[in-house]
Symmetry: D2
Subunit: 334 residues, 4 copies
Amino acid sequence: MPGFSWRPSRGAVRLTFVVAWVALAPVAGAETHRLKPTVGYPTFAAREPVLTVAPGDVLESETLWGAWYENPGGKWPGEVGPIRIEGAQPGDTLVVEILKVKPNRDTAVSTQGGTFGALVPDSGTAFLNDMFPRARYVWRLDREAMTGTVDLPGSAAKAVTIPLRPMIGRVAVAPEGAEAFGGLWPGRFGGNMDAADVREGTTVYLPVFHEGALFYFGDVHAAQGDGEVCGSGLETSAEVAFRFGVVRRTIAWPRLEDAEHLMVAGSARPLSDALRIAFVELVGWLVDEHGFSRPDAYQLVSQVGVVRVANVVDPLYTAVAKFPKRYLPPPQTP
Amino acid sequence: MPGFSWRPSRGAVRLTFVVAWVALAPVAGAETHRLKPTVGYPTFAAREPVLTVAPGDVLESETLWGAWYENPGGKWPGEVGPIRIEGAQPGDTLVVEILKVKPNRDTAVSTQGGTFGALVPDSGTAFLNDMFPRARYVWRLDREAMTGTVDLPGSAAKAVTIPLRPMIGRVAVAPEGAEAFGGLWPGRFGGNMDAADVREGTTVYLPVFHEGALFYFGDVHAAQGDGEVCGSGLETSAEVAFRFGVVRRTIAWPRLEDAEHLMVAGSARPLSDALRIAFVELVGWLVDEHGFSRPDAYQLVSQVGVVRVANVVDPLYTAVAKFPKRYLPPPQTP
Amino acid sequence: MPGFSWRPSRGAVRLTFVVAWVALAPVAGAETHRLKPTVGYPTFAAREPVLTVAPGDVLESETLWGAWYENPGGKWPGEVGPIRIEGAQPGDTLVVEILKVKPNRDTAVSTQGGTFGALVPDSGTAFLNDMFPRARYVWRLDREAMTGTVDLPGSAAKAVTIPLRPMIGRVAVAPEGAEAFGGLWPGRFGGNMDAADVREGTTVYLPVFHEGALFYFGDVHAAQGDGEVCGSGLETSAEVAFRFGVVRRTIAWPRLEDAEHLMVAGSARPLSDALRIAFVELVGWLVDEHGFSRPDAYQLVSQVGVVRVANVVDPLYTAVAKFPKRYLPPPQTP
Amino acid sequence: MPGFSWRPSRGAVRLTFVVAWVALAPVAGAETHRLKPTVGYPTFAAREPVLTVAPGDVLESETLWGAWYENPGGKWPGEVGPIRIEGAQPGDTLVVEILKVKPNRDTAVSTQGGTFGALVPDSGTAFLNDMFPRARYVWRLDREAMTGTVDLPGSAAKAVTIPLRPMIGRVAVAPEGAEAFGGLWPGRFGGNMDAADVREGTTVYLPVFHEGALFYFGDVHAAQGDGEVCGSGLETSAEVAFRFGVVRRTIAWPRLEDAEHLMVAGSARPLSDALRIAFVELVGWLVDEHGFSRPDAYQLVSQVGVVRVANVVDPLYTAVAKFPKRYLPPPQTP
């Protein structure tokens, strides 16, 4: 990618108010890498990278498709990665600009019932009641019109068509230490947050726990309601593209940024605790980077904060707390 | 209000698909009542009505202002009511169209810290840590521009101005039986849901537990962030107007409807449980009134459902689950 | 009751280490009152007392029996009270020594399933699953042998006999302000804590919110497992006797004391929060009354504390945190 | 260990009522292995075994001691293992009889405060309040008298001595699939349950997910209060001995058995969910193995069930639900 002059993402610039985020020196000639994934991993964990990129580089790839999408009981294909980002050190923050999320199939699948989902007892919410029936819906995707259609023959609405809003369910770094979390887990490392805000145009910030960060991605949803309450969105695969950066600052939980909002994604059970994590980190962000006193940040976030319930079905639930960037003070010259 | 021809609210019409909601016979000449409240009550409870209205009647009034708004430690003025709606019987549903919510003061107050609020230990979430400092912010309201401004002298943003979005924190009927819940409680009876969707243009449906329903209202917020995390919005008073109706159907939890959404407000701790209540009721609504099978309703609500976290600070937290009305099947002729 | 010389309960004496609890002057001739209750109330609330007693007086009475115990769907008889204790003022602590809990029926009833109980979705834990079947077990009580027997014809164990351990499900004062909580609620005012430690030989301390304290009692269980998970114990009625006292100290949550333990009963949902309340109050008790530093109390309670899960079925769950009195320092002479 | 005639543990015998648990054929000459551990692992995960034993064999070993016990901020030594049990296959149940837990040091350490523990905000329960101070208590162990003593110079009780009740905080198999949970995690695989009932004389049943089961152990507490609320018990090391067995039955969560009780250890946040898991599994155990109908088991467990709150501090909380074995029907001859 000749002529590319790397610059930290706007998010990273934005994060410079109190203490400057020192971006790694940009690689002279940033590259665009094309990865055709052939193997998926069932866990987020530190393992040999499939590819090494430099800060400023772009990765074009796709998410995995596999038996899970084809038939009931089929095996999940796992996530793509890990991608090693040169120079990323434990304590740094990985910056991932999501440049593209474009579904590349004509169908999407959503399963429900059994022992997974918010409205049925799951592995963490045991009850004596009989199981709610399992079902599997195949949605037809119109990638021109960007709509999805499902047949509901047993309902008065015989079929329903909804707009697509593609998102990536899982973006992660390798978790701290020797831990390896299965693909269903979200956490401080990102993972299966199932946050609709992880979409084209969003920048994701993830804490770095291992040399090279070791980035994973997968589980695209063509659309998903808040909370993903039945346990799955319109699960499909997609063309994706990311640009990577690294900043020398430490964050405790994943952060997101788009044109409108600063966001933090907290993951915990119950949902109240996920939401508290997200807001406490968001207040900390405003205090550390944008010159708010702690009480003022608490007050302001209470009046203009927005909450997106990302998922209430995974081993940990995820809540995203958002602060509208229009209320940030203008950046100051150092 | 001569010439007024009462019709059930659009919501009530909407609710007629499977089993017709039988609205009470409209009173021939619906009236507009003007109430100037002089006393507020500290609990939602069955007590002597301050006014009786007929279905179809409009009530113009205002919410109470009192010492709480004027100085720290001041007494809360309580809620206005109860309003008796003629002919409402236990098992019915009260329909309240919110015709107006217009702030009538030049200031709004928000308090935080101490032992109330989502991000500090409260009466239900005890910890050993020292208390977070109490603070009290007075916002200046510009009722022409519909903005609120707060000084933040200790922060880089010296002041912030935000748009107003007036809402009513508390709309309630008298709770079932002889119970009397303090003004901070939400529940099946409505109450202190602190739901931003309870605003001009919304229709609220509340279960009726006592003859006459016994409607209460109060606690207007000129604006409020999702979750009301510091424990209070821009607390002020307002001119309000409601039109009342009654339908002969039974609901378990408060429902809301506006031009875009069917909504259910569930209240419980922790938030996960409030959200489950809201979604289970929403699924039931789609099944009972709109011809969806139970599995289909679960699937669809999972893909297009929207969640608003109303409050995570009151004795019970409130989550609002929303279904976009554009996905409802067309009403059928009976 | 001639010759009776009133003394504060041992508990009250015990509570004098740091700041002396000033008991009300004992009434010269303490009396024994015999109350034959004829009416039960469905709520814990401030209302006209049925009896006034003086500190030091003993009350002999019985709990109510009614249709609920006789047939499915029968009405709950409500609780006995309120008893006014002379001189008790808001901010004081009511001391209730439980002198007797002696079942007075030959049967006890336990119901389960439907929408009440810990292992089925209830009004706070909604799920889409079909309801778990309701059932009603009638236990035969042998009041000589102090055992209860139930037939289980569908099980390999055709019948089971268990020892009785009578306890009082509900002891309460009128809650703060104008609130009126239904008989199923526990809280700061005591109420339906369903704590097995509320039994003969235990002293209960309750915060006083109204002149006269306004004490209620009812809902005897001949036996109950931890958590009362199906939603009911061996529900029956009993002869009961209490001796009342008042101390001029303020407590935030109900406390219990028996020969072995200081205890605090915290009530909240989820159970983690109830348990935190109980432990934070217990630490406070050790600090305020027994000369422990806050960190030392935290450490010690962590190593010798005992938890009893009282109920996980009521509108709030109740956890009892216990501190063995053998680890208290010896009382000091002032 | 010549002459040893292996028999399934009493627990395994007990579990034979409805469908016989088929124990692996006992190895002719069961052996006693002595392992001197030199390395500890930071995660529960499938890795190369350090030792292979046969069903019926006894393992004598010790838990690891390391820098964590010696000084603040010291590194945790990790857990011993994995031990491979010959013939254990995924879907089986590993039987571990705990033959010995005997502290082998003269001190034990308990830390508190900071961001770990039930009564301070931790990584899952974020609040804005200032941190509660960290502290570190060193207890002196008298291994003859079996007591522990701690100095509390800032408290009226200048020192406290308590009886020791040694237990093993962590017993685990390798978790399902490729997951690797850090040593603080409990779960279906056992792990850091911090259950006081995991002590000498108890038999632990763990689900087998990998060939050989891959058993780990560590983290002995000389004593611990219910819930381990400050985040640590009297942490020390011990001589331990286990006898292993394997049965061809599948369990979902760890089970325990001692002379008095059948027990299930459920792990989840919040605590209510952990408790539900434990009780639902306990009901299932009674139904599957002891001839109770599901409703009868629910009823009986509600009246005689005992709950031990194991921990409310780890990434998942652990509750142990216990059923007194005296209420089991007599074993039937097949």
